[in-house]
Symmetry: C2
Subunit: 124 residues, 2 copies
C-alpha cells in the first residue's frame, strides 16, 4: 500500500507541475535532534536521546540493506511533547521512537516491510 | 493541483495504515544547513549561504501569513552540488534556492500559490 502511494504521489503533480516518476528518496526520514535546556517545560527530542537513536537508525538501515532511504537530522519538528519525534516522507507518517527496538520496528515494518509501524505512530 | 495532492496523499494509506485526513503540516520545508570545509569538492549548502536563507524564509513565511507550514533546518540532504537545497514535503519537490528572491518565489508560487516554482526546481 505504501509502495503504491509512493508511485502515485508524484503523478498527482504531473498534469500541472513536474514529471518526476518517483520521489528522490522512497523514504526520507527526519529525526528531530533539537535540544532545549533540561528545565524547559516542553522537553526536547535530544534530551530524550534522539541523537543516539538517529546514529543507530543510520547504521541499522545500512546493515539491513534498505534502499532509497535517507536518514536526516532535523531541527525542532514542533511536536516536542511527543518526542523523540521522527517523520517519514513522502508518506508523512510520524513516530515516537524511544528505543533502538523502536527504531528497528520502524525500519523493518515501514521501510523494509511497506506497512507503517502502527504502535509507534503519533496521533494525527 | 498541489492542494489536491495534499488531500489525496493520506487517503492512499487509509485502507491499510492510518486514518489521518491531512498531513500534519500542509508544507513541511527542509532547508539543508550542512557545512563542509571550504575546500571540499562537493561544496556545501551552508557554505553557499543556506543558514541566512533559512532564517529569511522563516521570517518571510510568517510575514506572508502562510498557514500550516513548518520551515525546518536539516542536515545534509545529499544533493550538495546543486545547493543550497530545499525540499518541500509531502509534495517531495526539490529546489535550489540561492537568494532571498528565490525564497520569495518558492513561498509565493508554491506555498501560497499552490504551484511549484518551476524555474527553481532541481532535476529529477
Amino acid at each position: 500500500m505504501i509502495d503504491q502511494a509512493i508511485e502515485q504521489v508524484p503523478t498527482k503533480h504531473d498534469g500541472a507541475t513536474h514529471s518526476d516518476a518517483k520521489p528522490f528518496f522512497a523514504f526520507h526520514v527526519f529525526v528531530c535532534t533539537n535540544r532545549r535546556p533540561d528545565t524547559h517545560p516542553r522537553g526536547s527530542c535530544a534530551a530524550r536521546g534522539s541523537e543516539r537513536l538517529r546514529d543507530y537508525m543510520k547504521a541499522r538501515a545500512k546493515e539491513l540493506g534498505i534502499g532509497s532511504v535517507r536518514i536526516n537530522t532535523a531541527g525542532c519538528l514542533d511536536r516536542c511533547e511527543l518526542g523523540p519525534c521522527v517523520v517519514v516522507y513522502p508518506q508523512g507518517i510520524w513516530y515516537r521512537v524511544q528505543t533502538t527496538a523502536d527504531v528497528d520496528c520502524v525500519l523493518t515494518e515501514h521501510l523494509a516491510g511497506g506497512e507503517p509501524a502502527r504502535d509507534l505512530m503519533l496521533p494525527p
